[in-house]
């Protein structure tokens, strides 16, 4: 494989997407685990949609939401001076949405696993709710949160369908490694496909081992 740019692009997109979905996802997970508000069930269902939708369908709706004719797309174009879709930024957004449910669901379970008596003890000791979250809930849930973020990274790195719909397949600009593998197979470039697939599989296995390790030592 001569051109490694799809790998670097993939890593950059996945890293940014993980940061974005990590921050938003952990916040939403906390809200779902601790909050008692109307519409909580609906919010949870919406946040799960990216898992159950076919990735191309998810990508299609993202394209509709972010495209040049949508309010978001127009606002972006006014602000930046260029369309949002078919850019690396769009690839980051697609990967973030794909990764988000994994961060939210794993994170929520991690928050709910935290011993409520530890939180009560700190509340009784005179600390308001945001201090309880910082002193108890977040540190106690950190392994589960990390596992969720790691799964999110793997999902972001591997995304094909949603990314190809909103970001396209522009070599050197939006062609991530999974898309490059597909291209290579179509073009009969077997050695490129083999190398790309091997790299992606290796990263996935490493992430999986990491997640397993984090889950194992939670007690």
């Amino acid at each position: 494989m001569d051109d490694w740019s799809p790998l670097w692009l993939s890593l950059r997109v996945a890293t940014l997407a993980t940061a974005l979905s990590g921050v938003v996802g952990v916040g939403l997970a906390y809200l779902l685990a601790k909050g008692r508000f109307p519409g909580r069930g609906v919010l949870e269902a919406i946040l799960t949609i990216p898992i159950v939708l076919p990735p191309t369908v998810l990508g299609y709706y993202l394209l509709v939401t972010l495209g040049a004719n949508s309010p978001i797309g127009r606002a972006w174009e006014d602000l930046v001076g260029a369309p949002l879709v078919f850019t690396p930024t769009a690839a980051v957004l697609a990967a973030s949405i794909s990764a988000l449910p994994f961060v939210v669901r794993t994170g929520r379970a991690a928050f709910e696993d935290v011993d409520a008596r530890l939180e009560a003890a700190i509340r009784v000791a005179g600390h308001p709710e945001w201090r309880v979250a910082l002193l108890v809930t977040l540190p106690m849930a950190r392994r589960g949160l990390l596992a969720g973020v790691a799964l999110g990274f793997a999902r972001a790195l591997g995304d094909f369908g949603a990314t190809v719909m909103v970001a396209g397949n522009i070599p050197g600009r939006t062609q991530t490694l999974p898309i490059a593998v597909y291209d290579a197979v179509q073009a009969g470039a077997d050695d490129v496909a083999r190398t790309g697939a091997l790299v992606l599989a290796a990263i996935a296995v490493v992430v999986l081992l990491g997640v397993t390790h984090l889950s194992d030592r939670r007690r």
Partner: protein
Amino acid sequence: MSAAPGPGLGRAAANADPAANADAATLAVDVVSSAGAFTVAASFTAKEGITALFGPSGAGKSVTLATIAGLIRPQRGTIELRGRLVADAGRGVHVPTQERKIGMVFQHAALLPHRSPLDNVALAVRAGGRRQRRAEAREYLAQVHASSLADASTANLSGGEQQRVALARAIAGRPEVLLLDEPFSALDQPTRRALRDLVRTLVDAHRLTALVVTHDLDDITHLADRVVRFEPGRTVDAHDLPVPARELPALLGVTSDAT
């Protein structure tokens, strides 16, 4: 108390509230509260010293304690702490837990495992900068004879050591009421006796009002100044202690070998 007592509460309140003690009461509880499908009506007062909440498991003693701490909102009734109304369900008064001055010890110490024992205690000291809070925390650790544990690994402490640190944390906030939820039940006999003595010493030294949830007759005999009796779902009556040992089982409605 102004709240209308629920069914069966009037008699309990009358027994638990002899007029002679009313002025000295530092805690006045008259609430109905729920946890899930379970409801308990509790009506009693406590003053300086140790008041045991005694009764079978599932009677609602711990729910009552959590209600006093503000962790559970009562459905009806009031809680007064040192003359201050901290909960009044009828008027929507609910002082949040962190603004009540409460010290609490749980059956399992509930220390933060990722913080040192010293940090755990310092987190409960309410005033002063970081350095001052840590200095004060060391004093409280000394009072529970746990100075040497200050920088130990919290997760590796024995049950008795954890409970000592938890006691130090509970008194570090200079609480108006100390709530002990079956604090000795996970400990072996010698440790239990040592901890009982320690609680007595601390309560006397700091002139604390302490509530101890227990179903252990030894706690009544060796620790409590007063006992509030629970039946499933409600308080029954209250008695000042000590009473002659042979009268105790009848007083508490238990057979003498049931401890």
